[in-house]
Structures are given as structure tokens and as C-alpha cells.
């Protein structure tokens, strides 16, 4: 994995050309530093992942030393219905709550950025709270709440809760994107006869896209990785993968868990490539 990213980034190096106007010239001294820091950062991010993948082929159980190559952990993953079910639950919940959080969070960020209204400051403050609340508190309080209003626990409660804790992350990222958003472009489009929907689709959305991609990635990652809140709001048979793994830790992290993690990684990458592919095709 590490070498892949290295190659891509090295390939990039030559392609950062000074723009015609020459505004990067004065920054060129820093360019070497930028590339170096970026390379080191990516190495930092990927080497442990490489270790994890290597260890999913290790026959030793504790993961402290290398013994010998084996595929048995992958065999075990594929014969373990619970692991596969949890992984599927995780992906379903992550996709649904990403969609939910991105839509809701973006709408809210637009309202907050574009309009002045009563109670705006209060909402602004409130939107930070979910980031601040300790996960365990949010998990238990949501559980008490779901029990009180008699919503039976399962994928639904998981998605609801995940949207709740992902939304602020989307909101914050989108606010950063929307700040200083040049509304004259939208107005120009409308002056040229585009209706509001067309303006949104053709002008606003593409301009917001980098923000939407970033926040969707954040939400997807947060949802996929959460276990404290998920632990409390899952019902019978709807455990997500992190909850399953958390349940195993009293018996130690086994290479089987490394194997499913590696598989999830591959599957997520595949999902994202597929999403990008679809997006590209829609655009053309």
C-alpha cells in the first residue's frame, strides 16, 4: 500500500507546474518541503496498514511475532457467518448514514451561511455539541431515549444515531466550504434564465462538490469506525463490525480480525471507485 501511494505522489511531483501567471514562483522554495512532508505523512499513514495486512497472513495468534504464511484466517472469515453479517451491517449503516448526514448537514450549513434568522446563534452552538459529548454518554443516552419511546433496536436505530453524530462533521466542513461562497455566480445563472433547481444542480452543487466529497468521506469513515455508540444502540443480530471486534478483544485481537479489516479496506476502496465511476459517467 505504501509504495502505491508513493508512486502516485512521485508521479504528481512533476505535474505541479507553475501556473501561467507565475503566482507559484515565490512559493517554489517551499515546494520541495511540501512534497517531502506529504510523502512522509502518507508513509506514516500507510505503514501500519501494511503491517496489518501482512499480519493477516501470519499464523501466530497474538500478532507479536511473525511465524509463517497462512491463508487460514481468511478461510475462517469466510466460514464465519457472524463476521460477514456484521461487515454487511457496517457497510449498510455507513452508506445510509453518510447519505443522510450529508444531505441534512449540507442543507443546514446553507441555511446558516445564507440567512439571518432568530435563534441562529443557538443552532450554531448546538451543532458543536455532538462533537464534544463523550461517545459513551451519547451511546447510553440514546439507548435510554430509544427504550423510552419504544423504538426497537436494530439497523434503524444505528442509522439514526450515526446520522446524529456524523452531521456536525458534515456541517462544519460544509460551512468552511460555503464561507465566502460567491453568490453572484448563482445570480448570474438565474439572470440568464435558469430556474432555481437548474441553478442548484449546475452551479451550486458543482461548486460545493469538493466539500461534499470531503464531508461524505468523513461521515463514511466515522460511521464505519464507530463502536461505542453502536454498541449501545444495536439490537439482536444487528451488530456492526466494530462492535463484533470490540466483543472479541477480551480474547485478544486475532489475525482473523486483521483479515476482515483488510477485506473491509478492499471493499471500501471498491465502493468508492464504483461511486466515482458512476459520477464520472453521469457527468459526461
Amino acid at each position: 500500500m505504501a509504495s502505491d501511494s508513493t508512486i502516485i505522489l512521485l508521479g504528481e511531483r512533476g505535474e505541479i507546474k507553475p501556473k501561467p501567471r507565475g503566482e507559484t514562483r515565490r512559493f517554489s522554495l517551499g515546494r520541495f518541503a511540501l512534497v517531502t512532508i506529504t510523502l512522509f505523512t502518507f508513509a506514516f499513514l500507510y505503514v501500519p496498514i501494511a503491517v496489518l495486512i501482512v499480519f493477516s497472513f501470519n499464523s501466530a495468534r497474538t500478532g507479536a511475532t511473525w511465524q509463517s504464511f497462512t491463508l487460514q484466517w481468511y478461510e475462517r472469515v469466510f466460514s464465519n457467518a457472524r463476521i460477514l453479517e456484521s461487515a454487511a451491517n457496517s457497510l449498510i449503516v455507513a452508506v445510509l448514514s453518510t447519505l443522510g448526514a450529508v444531505v441534512i448537514g449540507t442543507l443546514m450549513a446553507m441555511a446558516m451561511e445564507r440567512y439571518r434568522f432568530r435563534g441562529k446563534g443557538v443552532w450554531d452552538g448546538l451543532l458543536y455539541l455532538p462533537v464534544i459529548v463523550p461517545e459513551i454518554v451519547m451511546g447510553i443516552s440514546l439507548l435510554i431515549f430509544f427504550a423510552a419511546v419504544n423504538i426497537s433496536r436494530g439497523l434503524l436505530t444505528l442509522v439514526i444515531s450515526h446520522i446524529a453524530f456524523c452531521m456536525p462533521f458534515v456541517y462544519l466542513t460544509m460551512r468552511a466550504r460555503l464561507a465566502d461562497f460567491d453568490r453572484s455566480v448563482e445570480e448570474a445563472a438565474q439572470d440568464l434564465g435558469a430556474n432555481e433547481w437548474v441553478t442548484f444542480r449546475r452551479i451550486t452543487l458543482p461548486l460545493l462538490m469538493p466539500g461534499i466529497i470531503s464531508s461524505a468521506l468523513l461521515a463514511f469513515t466515522l460511521s464505519l469506525d464507530d463502536f461505542v455508540i453502536s454498541f449501545f444502540v444495536t439490537g439482536v443480530g444487528s451488530q456492526t463490525l466494530p462492535v463484533y471486534i470490540w466483543g472479541q478483544i477480551r480474547r485478544g485481537i486475532t489475525p482473523e480480525i486483521n483479515a476482515i479489516s483488510a477485506l473491509m479496506l478492499v471493499l471500501s476502496i471498491f465502493l468508492v471507485i464504483a461511486a466515482q465511476f458512476i459520477q464520472r459517467r453521469q457527468r459526461t
Binding site: 499513514l45 501500519p48 448546538l126 451543532l127 459529548v133 443516552s141 465566502d180 476502496i269
Partner: protein
């Protein structure tokens, strides 16, 4: 439908705010209020909340705080005016989070800058490259990081191969910092990138033309314009770090304590929900104040956040 929305401003606001506001109130605020109520309750024979209402849980947090100025050099210069178990925990957690946020920022900024300057087609690719490592599992990742730092792990093996002395990294404060920075990086890089990506570089040129040097241009022109991303990223890394404990636990070998750990303990090993709720609420208040102070300092003009 669309027509109606177009014509009524307040309806439009309601349409945009509605779903989020509903979600926030119903699935976040109400549960949180339940927790707040619990923090004023006593506990029953099992440690679960029960009447009567009391301020005792809050008193338990502050009752041992004493004025006791001290200076020590354990792990750097330590100056303390007050002494108290939970005060110390709060202070330590905030300090550790602050340091890790600053380190994360120092690493993330150049990376985000680099990413934002790539040709358009490659930008989102690098975004994915930042996130991909986090699609494995948190615990599994932390165990892998642990392995990296082990006495016989890859880093020390490399050092030995180079004929250098191996270093004891695992279970040290440095290991905790590495763990926190690792987990925080994407949450800093992404908002920063989002801000930087739309930065208009001709502004720098203009500043330079007006006689500003690079540093001045950065400080006066770039920083104010990218600060929404900077502030968002700092909050997204600083705040969760205060409550984090599993990273601290695994990387630090449990040699230090964090407030997040103590809170989790109140809901698990030593069942005392009211006290745990009180600690959580205090943590939220303190973190909010710390965040406001940290982010307001030096940028009073910042209107976007907090």
C-alpha cells in the same frame, strides 16, 4: 412546492434547517437532557440513577481541590497552583489534546496545501488516499501502530540494521502522541483542504505586488481566508481528543490517565451513572470554554465559528 419555497423566505429557511434541527433536537438534545438530569440524581443499590435529586456528584468532583502551588520537572516543566484528582485529569487531557492538535496542524497544513495544488483530477484521489487507512478498524489500526513501536518492531529493527541504538518508544508519552496524531490527521487535513482548494492564489500575487513578503502574504492574506477550515479542523481534532482514552490506553500502556477513561469507567467497571454524567457535563463545559479561548485568541474577527 418549489414555488412556495421560492416565495417565502421563512419557509425556505425552515426547509433547509428543518431536518437537521429535528435530528439535533430529537436524537441528540433530548437524550443529552436526560443525561443532564441523571447528573443531578443519586444512585440506587446497583449504581444506576435514582431519586432524590442532589448536587453531590458535582461536589465529588471539586471537593478535593486545594490551593497548593508546586513546581516539578517530571516530564518537562510542571507548574501547578491547585491540586485535585479530577482537576489534574481535566488539565492533563486538555493539555495533551492541545499539543496533539498543534502537531497535527503542523503536519496537516502542508499536506492539505500540496493536495489543493494538484491538478484537479488528482485532488479527490489524494483525499481518498488520506481516508483509506481509516476504513480498517480503529482497534486493529491501533494494535498495528503498537506493533510499529515495539522493541522488536519495524522501527527498531530498522534502527538496528542501520547500526543505531534501538529506542524505547511504546508505552511512552511520545507513543501516545503518535497515536493521537495518527487518528486525528484526516480530520484536520480534510477541512483544511476544503478551504485551501477554493483559495484564489492571485490574491498572494496581488499581495506580493503590493510589497508583502511571503510570510506577510501568508499571514495577512491566506490565513484569514483559510481560517474557517483551520478552525473547523482544529475543533474536529481537539475536541474528540480530550475525551479519547483507548488510544492513550493502548499506546501509553495505561501509565497515564485521561478524563475520558475515568468517565467510561463510571459507566462500566465501577457503575456510577450519575457521577459519570456529572463528569461528562463538566468535561463538555470545560472543553467548550477551552475551545472558545483557544480559537478566539488572536482572531477576534472570526465570525464563522463559535
Amino acid at each position: 412546492m418549489i414555488q412556495v419555497f421560492r416565495e417565502h423566505r421563512s419557509l425556505r429557511i425552515a426547509g433547509l434547517m428543518g431536518p437537521g434541527a429535528f435530528w439535533l433536537v430529537v436524537f441528540f438534545l433530548i437524550p443529552l437532557l436526560i443525561m443532564a438530569v441523571i447528573s443531578f440524581m443519586s444512585r440506587d443499590q446497583f449504581g444506576f440513577p435514582a431519586p432524590p435529586f442532589t448536587l453531590g456528584n458535582y461536589w465529588d468532583v471539586v471537593k478535593d481541590i486545594r490551593f497548593n502551588p508546586s513546581i516539578s520537572f517530571v516530564g518537562g516543566l510542571n507548574i501547578r497552583l491547585f491540586d485535585g484528582l479530577y482537576l489534574e485529569l481535566f488539565w492533563r487531557s486538555i493539555w495533551l489534546s492541545l499539543v496533539s492538535t498543534i502537531i497535527t496542524l503542523l503536519i496537516a497544513f502542508p499536506v492539505a496545501l500540496f493536495m489543493s495544488r494538484l491538478p484537479r483530477g488528482y485532488r479527490s484521489l489524494t483525499l481518498f488516499l488520506v481516508m483509506i487507512p481509516f476504513w480498517t478498524n480503529f482497534l486493529v489500526r491501533t494494535y498495528a501502530l503498537q506493533f510499529m513501536l515495539r522493541g522488536n518492531g519495524p522501527i527498531n529493527t530498522l534502527l538496528r540494521a542501520l547500526g543505531l541504538e534501538p529506542i524505547d518508544l511504546l508505552f511512552t508519552p511520545a507513543a501516545v502522541m503518535i497515536g493521537l496524531v495518527y487518528g486525528n490527521l484526516p480530520f484536520m487535513i480534510l477541512p483544511l483542504y476544503t478551504s485551501l482548494e477554493k483559495f484564489d492564489w492571485t490574491m498572494i500575487e496581488a499581495a506580493n505586488d503590493l510589497g508583502a513578503n511571503t510570510l506577510q502574504a501568508f499571514r495577512r492574506v491566506m490565513l484569514p481566508l483559510v481560517s474557517p477550515g483551520l478552525v473547523a479542523g482544529s475543533i474536529l481534532t481537539f475536541v474528540p481528543a480530550v475525551g479519547s482514552y483507548i488510544t492513550v490506553e493502548l499506546m501509553g500502556g495505561g501509565r497515564t490517565n485521561m478524563i475520558g477513561y475515568t468517565i467510561a469507567q463510571q459507566f462500566s467497571a465501577s457503575v456510577n451513572w450519575p457521577f459519570g454524567s456529572a463528569l461528562s457535563l463538566l468535561m463538555m463545559i470545560i472543553v467548550t470554554i477551552a475551545a472558545v479561548l483557544y480559537f478566539r485568541s488572536g482572531r477576534g474577527e472570526q465570525r464563522t465559528v463559535l
